[in-house]
Amino acid sequence: MSPFFFWFFSAMMLVFGAAVIINRNPIASALSLVVSFVGLAALFMTLDAFFIGIIQVLVYAGAVMVLFLFIIMLLDLRAEERRKINLVAFGGGLAVALVFFGQLYLVIGQLRQAKQPFPPLALPRVDDVRSVGLLLFGNYNLPFQIIAVLILVATIGVIVLSKRELR
């Protein structure tokens, strides 16, 4: 992997991640998030994790964000754009973020493992799709099934709720 791609996609991810919260227009925010997701997917791919990268685009950028956009478009955007910035909350948030960042810096700076470079990636013998499948349906079969049931229950719940007539 060329470090150029790493820096390029990292910068893209961070810039558009920041754009998500800076933009006043919700549509612009949502689209920035999409670009950020694409950057993240590209980072995964530079690590040879094609499956995760593609799923990132397919699920988040392609499906979830489309639904987000769908909902945002049906809202009144002017109310959001009129809202003023609360300076106290802004300063407080900034302070908390700075403190958290400083703490992270200190902790990671003292961690010994963090100072060593990672060993180079070994080329996998099986496809990453296959290894993800083997893990999911082999080692973690029971949790996987439980999650499947959970999602089924949630789906049925949504259908029941939306079908119920308003009284």
């Binding site: 499956f51 593609i54 799923i55 499906a63 489309v66 496809d127």
Partner: protein, 369 residues
Amino acid sequence: MTFLVLTSLLKIFGIVFLVILPMVSYTVYAERRVSALIQDRLGPNRVGPAGLFQPIADAMKFILKEDFTPAHVNKFYFWLAPCLAMVPAIMTIAVVPFGSSLLGVPMVIADINVGVLYVFAIASLGVYGIVIAGWASNSKYPFLGGVRSSSQMISYELSLGLAVIPIFLLVGQLRLTSIVDYQIANGWMIAPFLGDPTNLWKWLLTIPMLISFVVFTIAIFAETNRLPFDLPEAETELVGGYHTEYSSMKFALFFLGEYAAMITGSAIIVTLFLGAWHLPIPWWNHAHGFHWLLISGSLGGWLGFLGGLFNIFTFFAKVAVLLLVFIWVRWTLPRFRYDQLMRLGWVFFFEIALVNIFIAAIIVAYMPK
């Protein structure tokens, strides 16, 4: 490394500028001619012999027209949307193996191990162009078109994804070149019995594969917004749908993007179900008797070069036939109503695809290797 980059660039350039874009413009021409013939008319036959230069004239017209941006639109997104409509359609072709190999270079731009998922991922990004166009135009009809399109694409992506699972069950790989190799060895996916006509299991396997093919093809129709699923741009209800406010080259990008999506969609169908670049030729000689001759780029020498070219030609000929079917269907069937469209996607195709996976899984599990 340099060789890889160079050949990749050559392939990208060749496929996009020498194959896809001319094919897009001539699909538009074919659409106009075929629709005319179906309706007992002649169609454009003025420019050049049999009107063959009509696409060039159209392109000139699009370039020379005034590029008008209405005052009430959201400028940045209004300009962004046409690009977003065209780019995913062309990007998808990157993983499609459009030929065997030419002079030892495999004829696929990026042979990644999640080929089909890549196709779905990029196709799912295609909806942004339409949705943003609808929203940025800031008027009613485009907005309705955009909203319709996003819900339609999400609905049909499900059946699209589920319809190809029987293929993966059979091949055990997501890589498109592996799927093609499997089809060459074991018969095309649409007719698995071709590889071994005496095997009853293969005949049994044909049923779920045929269902897969039909569901997948119909879902591709819906994904590319073609009639009978062209509700996002239903002229009779929504004026022009999401591109109502667009003109000149920006409109052309939407228009051509739709056809580019059609071509890539057909290319995917050909790759998954119709044996990609594989065309067996019946052959007879004294040593082997009657057998199927496999033409591919691996033959070596000038024969291999010709074979590679023949494979590429075969692939795009198959795509062209599918495009004609697209056009034929468009000028035959009327448009669905919106609730019918949703019902069809969620109640029928989704269930059919699910049951189909089940059938295919049973057959694959019990089929002797």
